[in-house]
Symmetry: C2
Subunit: 123 residues, 2 copies
DNA sequence: TATGTATTTAAGCAAATACTTAAATACATA
DNA sequence: TATGTATTTAAGTATTTGCTTAAATACATA
């Protein structure tokens, strides 16, 4: 990529561009964390999993496979991604693993779920 | 996939699973729309573009390329995705196209931006 | 009209994603 | 200990994504 070939129009406000760059620099880590959360939630299957965990408090992979009509390994691999991102916790009861939302991380998802309900009502 | 091989444990609450399936069925379209928005926002580059448009009101592809230190075509292709999802509008002034957030769709992004600020403060 | 700038579009490619099936692991219980 | 269930992990593959470079389009102006 040739960075030299950039915007040269007379109206370009270089002070504004500089301010934008600084604003982003100050928030580097926050953006990465939020991107991670959103890319997890930005999948049809995973958003449903998160929604269901919020609705039912806890569910096992097998329940989720039944509800979403998907194979257990497919569900398990989605769960791993969500878990690696620190969004859910697990609890074992015998052979069964129950997954639930990590309360420290739910805030953004709650507002996403609210928006989903809102879309339904206004659609 | 063999759907017959599903959860057969004694504790499986079939009424609960049925309720979950019905809850999802009622919200099919809302989930798809939200997944679309989140998958758009779940990219480092696009989340920054949305944040910057919210911050500065409007910017052109060339400005964004400068700020994000990326090629203009790369930016343009991200913009197209965001535009196809109905999240941003454009206004032409001579040769320059200015993009801005579509106010009808900002609500969820505003809460995402608030969470980003929050992460920064608590981190 | 010819030239230049801003932007988009297209083609190509490497990396990431999301399934599949098969095998491994963990626990329960006869 | 042997068998069965719940789950995860691994390997393979088709699809999607996000860049690159080159070409096309749109507008401005000499």
């Amino acid at each position: 990529m040739k960075l030299e070939i950039t915007c040269t129009r007379a109206e370009a406000n270089h002070k504004q561009l500089q301010n934008c760059m600084e604003a982003l620099d100050n928030m580097e880590g926050s953006f990465q964390k939020m991107t991670k959360l959103l890319s997890i939630a930005g999948s049809d299957v995973r958003l449903r999993i998160l929604y269901l965990l919020n609705l039912e408090n806890e569910l096992c992979p097998c329940d989720l496979a039944d509800i979403l009509k998907m194979s257990v390994p497919a569900i398990s691999q989605h769960i791993r991604k969500i878990k690696d991102a620190g969004i859910i916790n697990s609890r074992r009861d015998g052979q069964t693993l129950y997954y639930s939302l990590n309360k420290d991380e739910t805030e953004i998802f709650i507002s996403i779920f609210k928006s989903i309900e809102l879309i339904r009502k206004t659609a």
